[in-house]
């Protein structure tokens, strides 16, 4: 019996091959395996036979939506900034998408980064992706040379190491607390939709920190980011980060110093996270890409929690629903405003 992921792989290859053969898409964006266990390579199949290299497993941790807008642009005729847009239909790209990835595609459509018509989305309802760092912790950072995946377990091998790990125990934090595993937009599905998951403590990680004193929160924040090497893997793995000039590269004014100094690193992480407010789908790409094991996802999760509490919306649930921070209501909460609290006192 093939495992669930093996069946998905088979079906994905078939669908991608068909899309490429029939000329419906110019390329198909998926994953292929590489040379290191538990790290998958995002892969662009450009010929029908490339489809056989596509693979699906629990290590597809980077958000494919991140690659879409530049990939789509690469199929457009070259033009200068002020040239009119090209006429006629442009080539399409196929892509595999889980719940959060599809929601990021919604955000990209809303923010005019791509057109819905130009992507053929093969939806996959997510069973959660594995956190490589959790697996490494589970084997006490011993060297791992191969990982075989079953539906509910991982068989991890290395020199002098052979261990079976329960799959759910090493699933990424964001996937464990994921409420919307189903793609919200798709053209075809592989497998069934599973419906929203009922998660009671989806913001537990955030609440734990909220309950600390201001001093302890600062302590937590600075010790979490102190190993940051400013490689910007978190930023570059994020489908929300597409500014032609990132604020870290601005020099007049220069918002943040460019080296590895505590205040600059802190400001980088604050602003990076804050720029994702109301847009982040908690896909966990940033955390998965970080070479230093920084849990910067808790920052964006906090923003997600507040936006949900204050405005009752989550990013990317539908193309029609505006992004929470690019809209407003007349009666939005404003007790945080000093002059409003004065009013309260006078009453």
């Amino acid at each position: 019996m093939p495992t669930k992921n093996e069946s998905i792989t088979q079906e994905l290859r078939q669908k991608a091959r068909h899309l490429l053969e029939s000329g419906q898409v110019a390329a198909f964006l998926g994953y292929t395996s590489g040379s290191v266990p538990m790290v998958m390579k995002p892969f662009v199949a450009r010929k029908p036979e490339d489809a056989e290299r596509l693979e699906w497993n629990s290590f597809c941790v980077l958000n494919l939506a991140n690659y879409l807008p530049p990939l789509l642009r690469s199929f457009e005729p070259p033009r200068r900034p002020n040239d009119p847009p090209p006429e006629g239909p442009l080539p399409k790209v196929g892509v595999a998408a889980t719940g959060c990835w599809s929601r990021n595609m919604v955000v990209q459509v809303q923010e005019n980064q791509m057109e819905r018509e130009r992507v053929v989305i093969i939806g996959i309802s997510s069973r959660g992706m594995v956190d490589r760092k959790k697996v490494l912790n589970a084997v006490n950072h011993a060297e791992i040379t191969s990982v075989k995946e079953e539906d509910n377990s991982l068989l991890v091998k290395g020199p002098g190491l052979e261990e079976e790990i329960n799959r759910w125990d090493v699933i990424r934090d964001n996937c464990q607390t994921c409420v919307h595993p189903d793609p919200v937009i798709f053209d075809e599905m592989i497998g069934q939709l599973q419906g929203d998951r009922d998660i009671q403590d989806r913001f537990r990680q955030v609440e734990e920190i909220e309950n600390l004193s201001a001093q302890d929160r600062w302590q937590w924040f600075t010790s979490e980011i102190d190993s940051c090497i400013r490689c910007y893997a978190c930023r570059n793995a994020c489908p929300l980060c597409y500014c032609p000039t990132c604020f870290v590269d601005d020099s007049r004014p220069q918002w943040v110093g460019k080296s590895r100094e505590p205040v600059d690193t802190a400001i980088f992480h604050i602003l990076r996270a804050y720029h994702c407010a109301g847009r982040c789908t908690d896909c966990g790409s940033c955390e998965s890409a970080c070479p230093m094991g920084i849990r910067m996802r808790i920052l964006t999760k906090k923003l997600q929690k507040d936006v949900l509490d204050l405005y009752g919306t989550e990013a990317g649930m539908s193309i029609q629903q505006p992004l929470p921070l690019s809209t407003y209501k007349m009666d939005d909460p404003q007790d945080f405003v000093l002059t409003e609290s004065f009013k309260g006192e006078k009453k």
């Binding site: 290191v36 390579k41 490689c231 893997a233």
Partner: protein, 338 residues
């Protein structure tokens, strides 16, 4: 031969005059450079620490000079040297690949006073690797798990202590202060020999890519079709360059703040578009594929053409931590196949 207690006592004595660093496990479980005090020993984990030792030679950032930025002050905009680190540094548990990176980086930095000053001020006590990791490939780049390049002292770890071999004169001077070294027993001698022989065998078979790559025609490598697929996966972050011991590119910036100013030199990465952006707005490496190609071409072709060896020591950090599994070993094979 020093047992661990004597080794620790020696370090403890040295720590009066030296700042000592070595790899320690962090609370997140990864191995990272840490200050060792009071005779602390490094954690004897196999493999290289997360960061390379380049931070000690090529600090992130390095202040080149400082100045007062208050125009009305007497010394306004007069440059002065910052107070630099004075104590000599001793790095313990350096793996031979990392030590070799210092030798390689010294080639382009031959006349760089900051790098060379740090080099003079830093002593390296290396630990020979008894076993390669799956991401290690020093034997492909001209190194060896028991290599001495760049080290002052090479140590072989035994169960009850370590065998220290001086490599340089200044290493020998340091060792003289170690005192009570014991003679090797027969069994210990055998163990050291065993490491010397077995360690290289645990790694991929030796190959000499540098001379072969030097012979290749540059444009043929430049136009190779596989760059496209590589660039398709790359997210253009700086993980590989910042963790790499032999990536040495930098940028320079003046910072002013509350009436004071300084010029700093800090790490830059050829993966970032800003790296090559001209003031005119033109960017010769504006596309991702050009940046990805440049990193590998620099390490595997331009550097060997200019200096001889590859600009890679085979530590495997980029392989281990690349979020999208771009593997320089495969790039080497692809280039050699052309």
């Amino acid at each position: 031969m020093l047992d661990n207690k004597d080794f620790s006592a020696w370090l403890s004595r040295l720590s009066d005059s030296h700042d000592i660093y070595g790899p320690k496990k962090t609370r997140k479980g990864m191995l990272e450079w840490a200050r060792l005090e009071g005779g602390q020993l490094p954690d004897p984990e196999p493999g290289v620490p997360k960061s390379s030792i380049k931070t000690f030679y090529f600090p992130q950032p390095e202040t080149l000079f400082e100045f007062s930025a208050r125009p009305k002050k007497e010394d306004a905009f007069r440059l002065h040297e910052p107070s630099r680190h004075q104590n000599p540094r001793l790095l313990i548990g350096v793996r031979p690949c990392d030590a070799r990176s210092v030798v390689l980086n010294s080639m382009p930095y031959q006349e760089d006073p900051y790098f060379q000053e740090n080099r003079r001020n830093t002593f390296l006590l290396g630990y020979a690797c008894s076993q390669g990791c799956s991401t290690c490939f020093c034997t492909w780049t001209g190194g060896s798990p028991v290599g001495q390049d760049g080290l002052d002292i090479l140590a072989f770890l035994l169960e009850d202590g370590l065998v220290l071999e001086p490599v340089t004169e200044r290493g020998e001077e340091l060792l003289e202060k170690a005192g009570s070294a014991r003679d090797l027993t027969r069994a210990q001698e055998q163990k050291v020999d065993e490491i010397r022989q077995k360690a290289p065998a645990s790694l991929p078979e030796e190959m000499e890519p540098a001379p072969r790559l030097r012979e290749k025609e540059l444009m043929a490598l430049y136009d190779a079709p596989f760059w496209q697929e590589l660039s398709d996966s790359c997210i253009n972050c700086g993980t590989c360059t910042f963790l790499c011991p032999t990536c040495y590119c930098f940028d320079i910036q003046d910072e002013t703040l509350r009436g004071r100013g300084r010029r700093i030199r800090y790490w830059d990465s050829c993966m970032f578009p800003l790296f090559t952006l001209h003031a005119s707005g033109h960017n010769p490496r504006g596309e991702k594929i050009k940046r990805v190609r440049n990193r590998f071409m620099h390490k595997l072709k331009y550097f060997p053409d200019r200096f001889g060896p590859l600009s890679c020591v085979g530590c495997g950090r980029c392989v281990r931590d690349c979020p999208v599994n771009i593997d320089i070993r495969q790039v080497m094979k692809e280039l050699l196949a052309i």
